[in-house]
């Protein structure tokens, strides 16, 4: 890669190139149709075409490429979950990110700078100890630290000694980091398209024809397609798409909001979050401080923002880093998230033989873009759900085998 860059730099003429080809005409049929051109759908298309020899693939997105939650997330990549199936899965996800720039020949700007989650209550400390032990057992880098170490890791934190939000300690997760969200999607899209995958922007799935236990046709605003296999990866609106296929999903829509400040000189070199205050901060490579938190307090399928939520984020951010008090907010936004009852995703098989789910990614799915894409491609190519995905089956709700990740997910994503 570096040599390529040097060669390119020394070249006399620089011809402009397109990373992603323009949307072609829809063909009559595809071996695999992927509903949703976010990071997950594009990653699946990449692994199908680059590792499993399946090239006759169409990725359909109703809007522009990766303009859903892939474009809106705050890019936290981490594996400090609670249940063994989750830790195993997200650990693989983080590992894939470590090599992803190399894999794609596309700079995804992965910055593994560690995540520090603060506890302001005994309850939070107790849950951190459990998560740390689970994480160590599963081979991730994670430990509980005291307030003194918190200060060493992040000197800007307000420890609030004797105050209402005194910092008692933290959960230090060295594997945590961030990546450039758009680049992840573009990198996958570019390398998938090179192998013949067709990416159809502004192509909305409006319905499906189901015969017996198979989806036979996918209807879109640009015509009907005959599909061999279908992968659903439609982000916030996954519940709606499930209905089109006749598969009810345990998913509810909640908006998730975030915002960024004006750019500042680099001062915050870790990801900082607080489970009690429902706030987290990270400084981007442009110097902007990205501020996020929990979802809106009530169900809604809209990307509108609200003042109370923005005030709550600002309150949390100022409690943690008071010196931000004169800093201006530059941009703010929201995404619709598809929340499951246990804050874990739904992946794998469905009652239909040729229909596969990569859904229920809620507020936590960016970090899983690579691993979900890779493992879902394997599932589709072999017709067999790999071990690592099986606990995430839709059937877990009927069996009461939930994977409760609320504590590890609801406040910091």
């Amino acid at each position: 890669m570096p040599l390529e860059l040097l060669k390119y730099g020394l070249r006399r003429e620089h011809r402009s190139f397109r990373d992603i080809p323009p949307t072609p005409d829809l063909r009559r049929s595809y071996d695999v149709v992927i509903i949703g051109g976010g990071g997950h759908g594009l990653a699946a298309a990449y692994y199908l075409s680059n590792y499993h020899g399946i090239h006759n693939v169409a990725v359909l997105d109703k809007g522009y490429l990766a303009g859903g939650n892939t474009a809106r997330n705050t890019t936290t990549v981490r594996s400090n979950y609670l249940t063994p199936p989750s830790i195993a899965f997200y650990k693989e996800g983080v590992q894939l990110f470590e090599d992803l720039s190399q894999e794609l020949g596309f700079n995804i700007m992965f910055s593994q700078r560690g995540q520090l989650t603060l506890a302001h209550s005994d309850g939070a400390m107790r849950s951190f100890r459990l998560r740390a032990e689970m994480g160590k057992h599963m081979g991730t880098r994670i430990e509980v630290v005291d307030a003194k170490t918190v200060r060493e890791i992040c000197p800007h934190v307000n420890l609030d000694e004797g105050g209402a939000h005194e910092v008692l300690g933290g959960l230090w997760h060295e594997d945590g980091g961030t990546a450039r969200h758009d680049a992840v999607a573009w990198g996958y899209a570019k390398r998938a398209a090179e192998k013949g995958v067709e990416i159809h922007q502004r192509t909305e799935v409006t319905g499906m024809a189901v015969r017996g236990a198979r989806v036979t046709e996918v209807h879109t605003n640009r015509g009907t397609i005959i599909a061999g296999q279908v992968l659903q990866a439609a982000g916030g609106l996954n519940g709606r798409i499930g209905e089109m296929a006749g598969i009810p999903l345990p998913i509810r829509c909640f908006p998730l909001q975030a915002m960024v400040t004006q750019p500042l000189k680099p001062f915050l070199d870790i990801l900082l979050s607080s489970s009690n205050l429902h706030t987290y901060l990270v400084q981007s490579s442009r110097g902007e401080v990205v501020i996020g938190g929990g979802t809106d307090p009530y169900q809604l399928a809209s990307t509108r923002s609200s003042l109370p939520q923005k005030e709550a984020l600002a309150t949390g951010a100022l409690q943690l880093i008071p010196c931000l008090h004169n800093v201006k907010i530059m941009r703010q936004w929201a995404g619709i998230t598809d929340i499951t009852p246990d804050f874990s995703p739904i992946m794998g098989a469905t009652p239909l033989d040729n229909y596969w789910l990569d859904a229920g990614w809620g507020t936590w799915g960016f970090k899983a873009t690579a691993v979900a894409g890779k493992r879902m491609a394997e599932t589709i190519a072999t017709g067999c759900v790999p071990e690592i995905l099986r606990p995430f089956t839709l059937e877990r709700f009927e069996r009461f085998e939930l994977l409760n990740e609320m504590g590890a997910t609801a406040a910091g994503h």
Binding site: G239, R240, P248, L249, P250, I251, R252, C253, P297, Y298, Q299, L300, A301, S302, R304, S306, L307, P308, P341, F397, E398
Partner: protein
């Protein structure tokens, strides 16, 4: 400021209210219906009937709200039927 109308206290700042989730059957379900009751909560791209609480006065009531527009169409006490057309932005 978003305003919700409490059936007892009138129009108030939405920050005074807590959402308690969709209204569902009172009867205890069994089998598949239990699974649905617990995990498959309604998520319509339309109007949802849901429980809310005006926290300062502890008034629990029902609201009908559109899940795409966030428009509050009606609020009323349980059993009061569809009285007050009370919606304000």
């Amino acid at each position: 400021m978003k305003v919700m109308t409490c059936p007892v206290n009138g129009p108030r700042n939405i920050a005074e209210f807590q959402w308690l989730g969709p209204v569902r059957d009172d009867e205890a379900p069994e089998g598949r219906a239990l699974v649905e009751h617990l995990f498959f909560a309604p998520n319509p791209m339309g109007v949802l009937r849901e429980w809310w609480q005006h926290t300062p006065s502890n008034t629990v009531f029902i609201a009908e709200r559109h899940l795409n527009t966030d428009e509050i169409l009606r609020t009323y006490l349980k059993g009061a039927g569809t009285t007050k057309a009370s919606c304000a932005e």
